[in-house]
Amino acid sequence: MQQLLEQLVNGLAVGSIYALIALGYTMVYGVLRLINFAHGDLFTYGAYLGLTLLGSFALQDRLGPVAGLAVLAVMVMGLVALLGALLERAAYRPLRGSPRLSAVVSALGASIFLQNALMLIYGARYQVYPDVLPQTAVEVLGLHIPVVRLAVLGVSVAMMALLFLFVQKTRVGTAVRAAAIDQDAARLMGIDVEKVVLLVFVIGPALGGAAGLLVGLYYGQISFTMGWVYGMKAFTAAILGGIGNIPGAMVGGLLLGVVEALGSAYLSHSWKDGIAFFVLILVLIVRPSGLLGERVAEKV
């Protein structure tokens, strides 16, 4: 029972990271009907930028641990958001209106390019984060839960809540939702869809970059290829929740994290990375629209 609950918390923490990344996939998909394959790599850039900034500014020494990390997170998110906007300009905007395959290939090309650029800059070896977070744990109802895990969960959920409020309650958020429902109609209503696209390519990567930073701080070890495993899992989460659907990505991410944690604890650890793919294929076969989403199968 205790192990079950601990794995549950563990799964929720990892799942909240998946959810943060999944939001980027789902928002881009919602507006452009495009799978941004390079999104996982933007997440990796978040982790590496976080490492570099952590080393070069020593913010947590000057501002204290909490404020230092908050400033660091803002810097990382800003830089990755900039990268996301550049990516949209370079890889996707020239292909607006061309066949789906062209955009898919360009996205893959962007992913390969970003990943290898990172490898050439930092080298192919693992990079190790310094220990900046306290290694203490709290006892809750007899459970032994590391503070870091709770912090990851808390920060992710807070960011998701902010995004949800932004999309549901503000004028700009309404424009994003309108563009996702019907681009042409949105354009007729005076919404600048290109601006919405740009916004989506800023918010998604910012959240993905934050997730990268969290992974670095949480696991302490990052590699230039990790974006693709996390990306695939986050994408699975997005599909699971129903792609294009923002609350769906959150639910899907948390659910996938829990399923994976329980699966690797009770079935077999060596199959851990396979679980997400099984879930992905299963969802696409049984309910391709996801838990809360639109229809994706063609009726041909």
């Binding site: 799978i35 955009a103 090309g109 290898n116 199959w271």
Partner: protein, 329 residues
């Protein structure tokens, strides 16, 4: 087949046949790798180019073929060339089972599913089910192939075996393109709704194309196992699938000579710039992005199907000035 194309094939065949005279063992081995990738790229071309199914998991079927041949060769002492058709069949059946529930998915979802299948196959191989696949170490001690009593072990001998199989493949796939099946696939790729309306069982044709392409990749896998005598899961990673996908797109998806050129470029160019080996994939990534903007139809794109009646073709060309299925307006 047009006359220029036939001449091109003839020249290529003559150059390849004469290459052992001019090249050392290293470059002959590069040529053998080109042959394997040409086979893979042609097999993917049936799925991606002809049927228009986004398959990014070709390495999975390659792996299934290679492991089938390796297991048959090491456990049952079956000569590896006898295992070739079995490997193809196993890969084709596996592909059909996998594809059956997902071929109807929209393009990019199919892409994701096939990536997932590729990863699952790799994870299964690493986890060594029933002690068959040898886990992360793989299988070693696969017997060399022999043909008409001649044992094939040196690179120049493999050159003839592999390129001979490529020649057979090119011939068969050109025939396939002209067949009812091939025409149905082209129709289906250009307009699935119209194809369905004209009585083409789209789901079944897609499945057949998928199984055929996967089966051919399986045979390429068996040849790979025979050439290497040792195989391990890391040879069938996601990047293999990406490279093969890139070959098809780069060369001109749907076009057999284009795909061959694409495969040759992707294998040979990095060999020429060995000093930049670490930046190889960086360049490929950039190439994919630039290519999609500048020339999305590939280096040697498919031409619109020509008809024997010249006058009918001329009239059709006059009526529709479009560039044909290559997508160029």
């Amino acid at each position: 087949m047009s006359r220029r194309l036939a001449i091109g094939y003839g020249v290529a065949a003559a150059l390849l046949a004469a290459s052992p005279l001019a090249l050392d063992a290293y470059w002959l081995d590069v040529l053998n790798n080109v042959a394997l990738y040409v086979l893979l790229a042609l097999s993917l071309n049936v799925i991606l180019g002809d049927a228009g199914l986004f398959n990014m998991g070709q390495a999975a079927f390659y792996a299934v073929g290679a492991y089938t041949a390796a297991i048959l060769s090491t456990r049952l002492q079956l000569p590896v060339l006898w295992a070739l058709p079995v490997a193809g069949l196993v890969a084709a059946v596996f592909a059909a089972l996998v594809a059956r529930p997902v071929v109807h998915l929209r393009g990019d979802y199919l892409l994701i599913v096939t990536i997932g299948v590729g990863e699952i196959v790799r994870i299964v191989l690493v986890n060594d089910p029933w002690g068959l696949t040898g886990g992360a170490n793989g299988i070693f001690g696969i017997a060399r192939p022999s043909l008409f009593g001649l044992r094939i072990r040196r690179p120049q001998e493999f050159l003839y075996l592999l390129w001979g199989f490529v020649a057979l493949t090119v011939f068969l796939f050109h025939r396939l393109e002209q067949s009812r099946f091939g025409r149905a696939l082209v129709f289906l790729r250009e307009d699935a709704v119209a194809a369905e309306g004209s009585g083409i069982a789209t789901a079944r044709y897609r499945l057949y194309a998928f199984a055929l392409g996967a089966g051919w990749a399986g045979m390429a896998g068996a040849l790979y196992a025979a050439k290497m005598t040792i195989i391990s899961p890391e040879s069938f990673s996601f990047w293999e699938s990406v490279l093969v996908f890139l070959m098809v797109i780069l060369g001109g998806s749907g076009s057999i000579p284009g795909v061959i050129v694409g495969a040759a470029l992707v294998v040979v160019l990095p060999e020429l710039f060995r000093g930049l080996a670490s930046a190889r994939l960086l360049v490929f990534g950039l190439l994919m992005m630039v290519m999609m903007v500048v020339r999305p139809q590939g280096i040697l794109p498919v031409r619109a199907r020509r008809f024997r009646e010249r006058r009918a073709a001329a009239a059709a060309a006059a009526a529709t000035p479009a560039g044909g299925p290559g997508g160029r307006a």
